[in-house]
């Protein structure tokens, strides 16, 4: 899209910036805003997501002369989630911009999501000038203070001489160790101020962890003596770029394996000893195997409560070998008999030894066969699990799926197959509705030639529906599969199961016409209501050269099964009402 040549005349100082930049170029000085883009490019940043406003206007003025491509989102939360989707799909740092006050506070949900799922993003916020900070100025909020609970680290740059170093540190911190979001708050006078670049600053950080040799020996002994070991794989494998090492470990050990929601894709879905997702909506085989195991080899996972169910009853007879990059995760919820800290790429091969566990393998494979998914569904009403299975079978290789949060998310996790963690982007730790559509936009920007599909629900999509305008603006070929039950389905399911059917505020039968809504953004759309329409509709969506929304009406009474009720052991799952 061509850059617009008009500028607001709200602030006279901003109008003069163009001339100021020219003058300073001859003096080898640059504004703080221009320096920001130099540093971004030094870190390989090609794309940013954001929304301008008063206190960040000098940065947007510098953007005007930059080679960095900016994607104007329609809400700062959309910008943050697009940065998250970009980071997760590409394995790079995602960058988002917002102005002060409401612009900055609108980023917070995205930052919290990135913190919970350990996603490296750098958020740049404009701030009111230092001279008026603390005076309750227009659009002033203490975003630095607000960021303490929802970022890995944050900075407020009140001296332009610190700006370059801080920006380099922000990228280093986002990527170092357990990855996460970093916020840099830059007052307007720092953006406007003059500075001579000091050149690239190499940041060194603390907390480099190394593998204590003694732990390898004890872990190998535990692994050799185990008769019923299970590999429990989390999102850390993908974050460590250790998928190959994990698969090699599995090939050598032939250990039965399970995955968390965020770990999906790390284990090859074709592996005969892979039992699927564990936890609240995990497969029966995965949960029973974990419960019966005598050793859990936990790799880049954190015993999340959605995984363990009742913690005291989780894998009650199992010892634990825990691989992680984050010391604070060791013994946090489950004591590790052996803790192996550090980089999975280095540490996993150290434990890759053949295991004599044929009887256990056969038992797990038998459970997998006995408790497989059932797709027969009476009548012509569309059955969401079957739709998602068919989509998974028909979508091109290396398709990236994003989801929102709710029933459709769990059905996607259960019934779709992924060959890499970067091909399944879902809000795991925070469980943020509204994630899927902007995350798909970020993924599409980072992987323009890959098929990107947002699987959403009729509740979730309305949370960031304005981002359809971003798809239109940049003509992104994002596909949207909208599972529509005219309900907040997961909450309705829980109200039915655990609140005596008292359905409180979960009816969404007054949703807009989604086909008309998509068409309003020049997005082709179709609605299907019967099973006999599914195959052709999926094919039409996948073959369409551009954005497409497929609305799939399902029975509002359909539930996600199995379900481990809250505070219950994972082997006591419900499989129907």
């Amino acid at each position: 899209m061509a850059k617009e040549k008009t500028h607001t005349n709200e602030y006279a100082i901003d109008i003069q910036l163009g001339e100021l930049n020219k003058k300073m170029a001859s003096e080898k000085k640059q504004t703080g805003g221009a320096l920001l883009f130099d540093v971004l490019q030094q870190h390989g940043v090609e794309h940013v997501f954001g929304y301008p406003g008063g206190a960040i206007m000098p940065i947007y003025d510098a953007l005007y002369d930059s080679d960095v491509q900016h994607f104007l989102c329609r809400h700062e939360q959309g910008a943050a989630f697009s940065a998250v989707g970009y980071a997760r799909a590409a394995g790079k740092v995602g960058v988002c911009f917002a102005t002060s006050g409401p612009g900055a506070t609108n980023l917070i949900t995205g930052l919290a999501d990135a913190l919970a799922d350990s996603i490296p993003i750098v958020a740049i916020t404009g701030q009111v000038p230092t001279s008026v900070m603390g005076s309750d100025a227009f659009q002033e909020i203490d975003i630095f203070g607000l960021s303490l609970a929802c970022t890995k680290h944050s900075f407020q740059v009140t001296d332009i001489n610190d700006l370059e170093k801080v920006l380099h540190q922000a990228f280093a911190i986002a990527l170092e160790g357990r990855q996460g979001p970093v916020l840099v708050d830059i007052p307007k006078d720092v953006q406007i101020g003059h500075i001579v670049s000091q050149g690239t600053v190499v940041s060194t950080l603390k907390n480099k962890v190394n593998l204590p040799p003694a732990n390898v020996g004890s872990a190998i002994a535990m692994l050799c003596h185990a008769k019923q070991p299970v590999l429990y794989v989390g999102g850390g494998v993908g974050m460590a770029n250790a998928v190959d090492e994990l698969r090699n470990f599995i090939d050598i050990t032939n250990i039965p394996s399970v995955s968390t929601l965020k770990g999906l894709g790390a284990i090859s879905p074709d592996n005969e000893n892979y039992l699927g997702m564990l936890g609240m909506h995990g497969t029966k085989a995965a949960n029973l195997a974990v419960q019966e195991s005598d050793l859990l080899v936990v790799v880049g996972a954190r015993f999340d409560d959605r995984v363990t169910g009742k913690l005291d009853d989780f894998a009650p007879n199992a010892k634990v070998i825990h691989f992680d990059i984050d010391t604070a995760e060791i013994n946090k919820r489950r004591v590790a008999n052996s803790a192996i800290l550090g980089d999975l790429k280095t540490n996993l091969p150290a434990l890759a030894i053949p295991l004599a566990i044929e009887d256990w393998q056969q038992k797990c494979q038998q459970m997998k066969a006995d408790f497989g998914w059932e797709y027969n569904h009476p009548g012509n009403t569309i059955f969401a699990p079957a739709v998602l299975k068919e989509l998974s079978e028909k979508m091109p290789k290396n398709t990236c799926i994003t989801t929102d949060v709710g029933q459709h998310q769990m059905w996607a996790a259960q019934h779709m197959s992924f060959n890499d963690p970067s091909n399944f982007l879902t809000s795991g730790g925070m469980g943020t509705m509204g994630f899927g559509l902007p995350a798909a936009i970020g993924a599409q920007v980072s992987r323009p030639t890959d098929c990107i599909i947002a699987v959403s629900g009729d509740g979730s999509i309305m949370m960031n529906v304005q981002e359809l305008a971003t798809i239109k603006r940049f003509q992104l070929p994002v596909k949207i599969l909208l599972i529509d039950n005219a309900k907040l389905g997961m909450v309705r399911q829980w109200q039915d199961l655990f609140f005596a059917g008292r359905l409180s505020e979960t009816d969404l039968s007054d949703n807009p016409d989604f086909v008309m809504l998509a068409n309003a953004f020049d997005i082709k759309a179709k609605k299907i209501t019967g099973k006999d329409e599914v195959s052709a509709a999926i094919e039409e969506m996948l073959e369409h050269n551009g954005p497409y929304l497929l609305q799939v009406k399902i029975d509002a009474a359909d539930n996600v099964w199995p379900l481990v009720p809250p505070n219950t052991a994972n082997d006591k799952m419900m499989e129907s009402t």
């Binding site: 630095f144 303490l148 609970a149 680290h153 950080l205 603390k206 010391t327 604070a328 013994n331 946090k332």
Partner: protein, 81 residues
């Protein structure tokens, strides 16, 4: 309820106290007292943090250690009870 004292060394940053207090509260430790001072020569801050909780102190030590500005965290065994 267990009482603990942590001796923390940190970079001299205004925000470091806020970060430590936020982590202590969020992780379930009630703050009973705090002493803080800065060595102006080394720019290293020293913080004595008195807390109580039913949770093991290692839980808080690990979380404070993750903060970027923290250099060292030790449990003062002479004070802890």
């Amino acid at each position: 309820m267990n009482h603990y004292q942590l001796n923390i060394k940190a970079d001299d940053k205004q925000v470091v106290l806020e970060r430590i207090l936020q982590v202590a509260r969020y992780r379930g430790f009630l703050i009973e007292g705090i002493n803080a001072k800065v060595n102006t020569g080394t720019h290293i801050g020293t913080i004595e943090l008195m807390v109580r909780s039913e949770r093991p102190i290692s839980f808080l030590v690990d979380q404070i250690n993750k903060l970027i500005d923290i250099k060292d965290v030790k449990v003062d065994t002479n004070v802890t009870k």
